[in-house]
Symmetry: C2
């Protein structure tokens, strides 16, 4: 095994981001979800430093999708909660299942580690350009009639996807600040494993007097993880996704794996459109941001490829 | 104002329990829920010690009821999560709304306090007699046909309520242990305000090897709060409910308020059937348990009566 960057940084926590899709591929089968959480926990054992804490930032796409379907199906009987409240619900349920599975797997491996989930609010800027340009589809597809009616009655922005119907779109602003940072830092500093910032965090905006209000938006979980890593002075930053490494010319005959690149090289490839904005783009940007801010390398890989990535045979390392 | 018991105990945290009904009287109106959270936060300012932390244990009855209604309405399209996962969802959403409202109200009053919600698992004993005798109704009323079919297909215990239909019943075992206690104790010890054990906690059972599994049950939140208060060596224990004080002969012409009683006096009245098992009974028992275990008085009152209770003009104090 190569020397990992966080073996040099002493007791600083690691920050790990991973997708709701990667973790829970089948939202219709909770038992499968639990099994995936167990597999993930086993991979995590490879990462968990002996004395430092670890902060996990999970996605929630499929789970919030299910909640939105249920809200729609019962809109006439039960008042619909705003999207920020639904994100909070997924932090509760995914956080519980993950924390339980992680604690169980760690214990089975002889590691008695405190594992806890913190419900996490993340501040966004109401003047973020993304707030005026909602692009992130959430919830079910509607027929033209129903979609148009809901857009009017609920004040939604929508997008029409030819052949499939109308979908609600919400903004995806940048994360600016983590409200529960003190609690997360405290606990990670004690060597605990914290599940935090789930789904990218519950979006809130802050008035001038400091008052917080919910915002109907979704935040990219990789960007929230990078913000947390920077704020915590994390010894390592890892994003686990569905592929073992990033690639140039992804999905073409010229596809070529990238095992290592500098943050500057990443910028050049990002500018050249090598990494799509909705998927690998924010991951590369988040890693480059961390590498530059803290002068330490960041890693992109998958649960399956992680053992190889930690031995230098897979994964994409992004260096300062 | 009388000298409050926790003014003598230095920096030990307070534990406060309050009902999901008391807090959120209208589950169909999220805006009203937020307003009630603000009012509650204002009452809380009367309690929050200058240097000690506070742990809030909220109920979730109406909220978990709404989730169960939604799960039923979409059972054919979206796999139903078990009850423990739904409790976790309510910890996320109620915890978020409460933490946000509390932080806002405290800030408006010039107190910058860290407020955070911890998703909390609570261990129950699979051999608890309550596990064999499910008595707690959850979720919607069903027609006879549908209720019978669900009881068979889902393996549910049910109860028939004449004229209204069939309802699922689940066990309500005693709380034995709080999994995230370390995190809660740490944070409360730093003077923070923690929302924890919401809905009485997510019920889990622990195998001999320590592995945790979800349990489809509900735990009485007052009993979980008492367990937390004892484990945290809390300087004070307060239960806020819908009435300003407990009474003898409640609801009769002889009704007489109880402003103070010892734990032993409480036992006598409990044995005499003065406090119904489903409502005031567990509150009195929880307060008596705390008063005996820690040798400090506990208080039962309501949000509205709290100011008077703290001045000795209302509320029920239960003394060692």
């Amino acid at each position: 095994m190569i020397e990992l960057p966080w073996e040099k940084t002493g007791d600083q926590p690691l920050v790990l981001a991973f997708g709701g899709n990667a973790l829970l591929p089948d939202p219709d089968d909770p038992a499968a979800a639990e099994q995936r959480a167990v597999e993930f926990a086993e991979a995590l054992l490879l990462l968990l430093p002996e004395h430092a804490g670890l902060v996990l930032v999970h996605g929630n796409g499929p789970q919030v999708g299910s909640l939105l379907l249920r809200v729609e199906a019962t809109r006439d009987e039960i008042a619909a909660e705003p999207l920020d409240v639904l994100v909070a619900q997924t932090q509760g349920s995914i956080g519980y299942l993950l924390a339980r599975a992680l604690r169980n797997s760690l214990l089975a491996a002889g590691r008695e580690v405190e594992v806890a989930t913190v419900v996490t609010q993340v501040v966004v800027d109401p003047n973020d350009p993304a707030m005026l340009n909602p692009t992130k589809p959430v919830g079910p597809f509607y027929s033209d009639d129903k979609g148009t009616a809901l857009a009017e009655s609920q004040g939604w922005d929508t997008v029409e996807i030819p052949g499939r119907g109308i979908r609600r779109v919400v903004p995806s602003p940048l994360p600016k600040d983590v409200i529960e940072l003190h609690t997360i830092a405290d606990s990670a500093g004690h060597g605990h494993l914290m599940v935090a910032g789930g789904g990218g965090g519950i979006p809130v905006r802050r008035d001038e007097d400091g008052t917080l209000h919910g915002v109907e938006a979704v935040i990219d979980k990789d960007r929230t993880a990078a913000l947390l890593a920077e704020a915590l002075d994390a010894g390592g930053f890892i994003i686990l996704t569905e592929v073992g490494h990033a690639s140039r010319s992804f999905g073409t005959p010229e596809e070529e794996p990238i095992y290592s690149m500098t943050a500057d090289e990443a910028d050049v490839l990002l500018a050249a459109g090598e990494f799509p904005p909705g998927s690998m783009g924010p991951k590369i940007e988040s890693c480059a941001q961390y590498a530059r801010a803290l002068g330490r390398p960041a890693l992109i890989s998958s649960v399956d490829a992680l053992p190889d990535a930690l031995e230098g045979r897979d994964g994409t390392w992004i260096t300062p």
